[in-house]
Symmetry: C2
Subunit: 216 residues, 2 copies
DNA sequence: TATGATAGTAACTTGTTACTTACATGACAA
DNA sequence: TTGTCATGTAAGTAACAAGTTACTATCATA
């Protein structure tokens, strides 16, 4: 409860609005990891920043605006992490592996993120945040499907592979990892579990014959 | 909001406590599907049953007791659905497929269930409900691992298969399906997606050679 | 048909949450 | 140095949630 800003060693009292906004967003992500999204009250955010409740409303008109800013941060930083993995080159299967571990690494580093997303998935379906999330995941799935197409073209995966199902399986595996690490090991075990799971996933993509990749 | 008991065509006013308790549990599961778990206020439950707020507390001492009863129902009914699939016989891989589709079918039929579970996963880690959930999923994972061991013994899956990773991948696939259907198609498309994903999953278990199952 | 127990109602109390308002203060520019 | 404005504080308010209490209606049964 009384856990004032342990992440900010020196906390000047007065901050320019841009910095304060960034601090608020960071506090939300941290609180999501510590106490779950339902524990994120405006009071809790203020406490964590070592500031009074009312100060928040100098920088955001209401709580929804804070959530919007959190989504902005999410799109930017997750997009950057995955985008880099996509861009780095190499053959399609190398890229796929990089993306997988980049994704897992990101959520392991920011355990609040999946909590926020699951939380968002529980409200009614039509909200703007929900549509942003849908666009984010949908775009990701598209890029994955493109990667699978490229791997088929390069002869790394069988022509018969259902690309959309493969993309869904890929995403599902990551999401399943998140849930199970939330339930059992905690986020620490996540990367290790991912390492054990990924070969199985890859075999699923390679299909029944396993013949395509001769040089392995 | 004003959606009084559409599930109960004839709603006698006075019900014996056991029936009322069952109705309350059912209302919670339905409300979870309709408005998400955070929308489940005691008032909303009462409205749905066509009863006043105070009436609930004739049958449960407090809200936590209602949640406990919901978990009782979950353990019983999900346990029954999966237990049947496990017990029905046939070779291990047949059983595995039955369990997969039984699980998917159950959550497709009760869309509120995953919402409740995700909601439970967001609170602090030590709660009793959380431990029950952990035991439920842990036991499931154990049974799956046993199934994989049996399949290895029967020569249906390669000896090198990592059983625990396989069980985690199996569960993750279902959980990923749930999340993506919540985000996109809705629960209707879930069973269809499951049908497309399952072959890939199976190939993952069969491993790189795909040689074991000669008679296929 | 009278009676005791069970189920339901209406109107509270108490605590929490988002948001507001009136006032204070530190930093920076002229 | 001083005036000004962005940032912050303290103390509110309104809405809503859970749970309680005093009373009422209905049922089973003796």
């Amino acid at each position: 409860m009384s856990d004032p800003h342990p992440a900010t060693p020196e906390s000047r009292r007065r901050l320019p609005s841009a910095e304060r906004q960034a601090g608020i967003v960071a506090a939300v992500v941290e609180l999501a990891a510590l106490h779950g999204p339902s524990g994120i009250t405006t009071q809790a955010i203020a406490d964590r920043l070592g500031v009074t409740h009312g100060a928040l409303f100098r920088h955001f008109p209401d709580k929804q605006a804070i959530w919007n800013a959190v989504f902005d941060w999410l799109e930017t930083s997750l997009g950057a992490a995955l985008g880099e993995a996509f861009r780095e080159g190499g053959d399609p299967l190398d890229t796929l592996g990089r993306v997988f571990f980049a994704h897992v690494g990101f959520v392991a580093a920011h355990p609040g993120v999946p909590r926020i997303l699951f939380h968002e998935l529980q409200g009614p379906a039509g909200t703007p945040s929900r549509q942003r999330l849908r666009a984010l995941v949908g775009g990701y799935r598209e890029r994955l499907a493109g990667l699978f197409r490229a791997a088929k073209r390069a002869g790394q995966l069988p022509q018969a592979l259902d690309e959309e199902a493969a993309a869904a399986l890929f995403l599902g595996t990551v999401q399943g990892l998140v849930l199970q690490s939330a339930l059992f090991a905690g986020e620490a075990g996540m990367v290790e579990s991912a390492r054990r799971l990924y070969p199985l996933l890859l075999d699923g993509f390679r299909g029944p014959a396993g013949t395509v990749r001769a040089g392995d």
